[in-house]
Amino acid sequence: MMRIKGVLLAAALGALVVGCGPPQANNNQPQQSGTAGQPVGDMTGELKVWLFQEASNAPKEATIAETKKEFEAVHPGVTVTLEYLPVDGRANRFNGAFNDKNSSPDVAEFGNTDLAGYTASNGFADLTADLAAWPDSKDLIPSVLDTAKVQGKTYGIPWYTGTRALYYRTDVFQELGLQPPKTLAELGDTARRIHAAKPDLYGIAVGGKYLYGALPFVWANGGDVAKQDGGKWTSTINSQPAKDGLKQFADLIKDDNCPPSACAQFTGTQSVAAFAGGKAGMTIGGDFNRKAVDAGTVKGNYSVVPLPGIQAGKIAPAFAGGNLLGVFRASKKYTLSLEFIKLLGGKKYQQKMYTAMGNLPTFKDVQAQIAGSDKFLEPFVQTAQAGTKFVPTTPAWTKIDAQALIPTAIQQVATGGQSIDAATNAAASEMNKAFGS
C-alpha cells in the first residue's frame, strides 16, 4: 500500500515539475508604435525617471530639477517623477522593472556595459530611427555612440563618457628625477623604481579586480577580449597579444611594486583611493575620479597624462565607459520619454552636467569646447579622441563580468598560482561557454 502511494506521489510530482514550466513574466510585447508624424503613446501624465545616486548627489539633483522645470513648462499636464537608484543594487531594480511591465518607469540612466543584457530581456526601446532624425545626433562621437548599440540598433543617448588615464605624483617624480613614462614597458620600470626608492609607496596602484585598468594593456598590445564572427562571439583572451598585455598588467601586482597580498583584491576605486591617500606614485584613474583624488592628501601634487601605448608617442586605447539614457520598452509614453531624454541628454544639459558633476560630454563640439577651458580634462579628451574600445556587446558579457573571469585570471597570474597560459586558457573556455548559451 505504502509503496503504491509512494510511486503515485513521485509520478504526480514528476508530472508537475516537467508539465508546467517555471513562472515567467510576459515582457515580450512589440514596441509601442503609432501613425507616422503623430506622437506615440500618452503625452500627459506622470513621467517616471530613474537616475543613479552618485557619491555627492546634490549638484546632480539641482541640475535635474532644472531639467524637470523646463520640461514641465513645455509639456503642460506632465509631471516628471525622479528616483535615484544606488548603483550597487541596480540589477534587482532593473530586472524587477522588466518582470513587471505595469510598474515599469519610462526613462532610465544606465551603464553602457549593462545594455546588451537589458536588451536581451526586452528592456529598452529601439531608438534608431528617431535618433537618426535628431539633428544633434550627428555631433555624437561615433565610438561613444557605438556603446549604445546592440546588433546595429541604438537603444540610448550617450549621456556622458568616462575615460581613464595615468595619474602621477609630481612631487615624487621631481624628487626622484623621473619623467612620466612614454611606453607601457617604461611604466613598469618607473613604478618599480618608485617602490624601490620609497618602500611605503606602491609604484603604481592597480589591482586584480581593476578590469578597466587592465584592458588598455590588452588593447595596446593589439589583443582583445573576444571577436565576433557572423554573430558568434569567441574569446581571444588567450591569444598571444592579449596574453602579453595581461602579463604586463599582472606583473605590476608583484612585491616589487604593488604586493599581491594587498593589491590582488584592489578594484579601480580602491586603487584610486590608495593614490588619493598618498600611498602610491601613480595610478590609473578616470576623469570622474578627480573629486575623490582632490579630497585626498595629494591635492595639488599630481598631474595626469594619457596612458602610454607600446611604442612612444602612442596612447593605449581606453575603455569607453559611460552612461546612457534610454526609454523603457514597457513605457506607455514613448514620444514623451524620447523628448525628455533628448532634453536631458542634449548639448545644453550635458554642458550643465559637466559643470555640476564633471561628467565628460559625448558631443564632439561640447567636449572640445570644455577641454579648451579645463586643463585637467586635456589628457582624457586626448585619450578619448585617440580611439576607445569597448567590451563585447552581448548579454553573455553580464555573466563574464559577474563571474569575474578576467580578474580571476589576472589574480592567478599575479599570485603565481597559475601560468599566464593556463589562466587565460581557463578564462577563454569559460567565456566561450558563456557566449555559447
Binding site: 515539475v17 526586452n122 559577474a402
Partner: protein, 321 residues
Amino acid sequence: MALPILDPASGSAPVAPEWEIPVPPGPVRKKRDGRAAWIYLLPTGLLLIGLMAYPLYQLVQISLYDYGQPQASGAAPLVFIGFDNYVALFGDSQFWSVLVATVLFAAVCVVGSLLIGTAFAVLASRVRAVPRMLLFLAALGAWATPAMAGSYVWLFLFDRDFGLVNEILGTHGHSWTFGQTSTFALVAAEVIWCSFPFVMVTMYAGIKGIPGEVVEAAQLDGASWRTTATKVILPILKPLIVIATIQSIIWDFKLFTQIYVMTNGGGVAGRNLVLNVYAYQKAFAGEQYGLGSAIGVVITVLLMLITVVYLRAQRRSGWQP
C-alpha cells in the same frame, strides 16, 4: 515538533543506554487520536507547504530549465533542458573544489563551536555567580551581534594596515585575508565566535538539569571523575549534543554572510568560495537562475543526507529521538 530540548533528565530519560525501558511495539493509539493529530498538525503543515514545499518545488523546477533573466522577464522562450544544469555543474572542476572547501570549512566550524561551547558551559557551571554572569554577557553579546557587523569588526581587527592584531603582534603589513588557509581560518574563527554561545547555553541548561543525586550515586559507587563524565553526564547530555550538532552542521554548511563580507565575495581568484556564495555568484550575479537552482538543490540534498546519516549513526549507538 515538541523536542525535549530543555528537559532531558526528567523521569524516564535514558540515563544510560543499558537502563532503557523497551518501548512496547505496535500501534497502541486509537484511530480518533489520528484525526486529532492531523488537525493539530494542520497549521504547521500549511505553513510548511507554503514556505518550504512550494519554494523547493520551484527550485527543482527552475533547475531543469535554461532559466536566465531574459527567460524570467519573458523575452526569451523557456527551454526544458533536463539535467543539463546538473551535468554542467558536476563537470565543473571549480564546483568540486568549492564543495571540498565547504565541507572542510563547515567541519572545522562545527567541531570548533561544539568544543568551545561545551568547554565554556562546563566552566560556567563551576564558577561563582559574578564571573558566570560576565561569561554569559560576553557570549550573548557575540551571539547577538549581527553577522554583517561581526564580520566587519573582525576585518577591522585584522586589517593589514590599521588592525589592532597587527599592531599588537608587530606584524605590520601582514595580510590575514590573502592566503587561502589563513583567510578560511580567520572566517572560521569569526563563525565559531558567533555560534559557540548557542552550544554553550544549550549545554549549560543540560548540565544544570542533571540531578545531583545521579552524579552523587555514581561517585558513591566509586566511579572516577572521568567515568562519571563519560558514562553518566555525557549520555544524559546526548540528545542536546545531537541537536546542537545538527543545528551547527546546517548553519555552518549554509554559511553566506561571513564569507561574502570577509573575503570580498570569495577571495582572491575565488579560492575562498563556499557553496552558498558560489550559488549566489552563479545565480544572481551571473543571472543564471537555472544553474543557481541546481546548486541549491544539491546543497539541500547534501544537508538532508548528512543529517540522516548522522541521526542513524546516533541511533545505532542507542539514542532515540
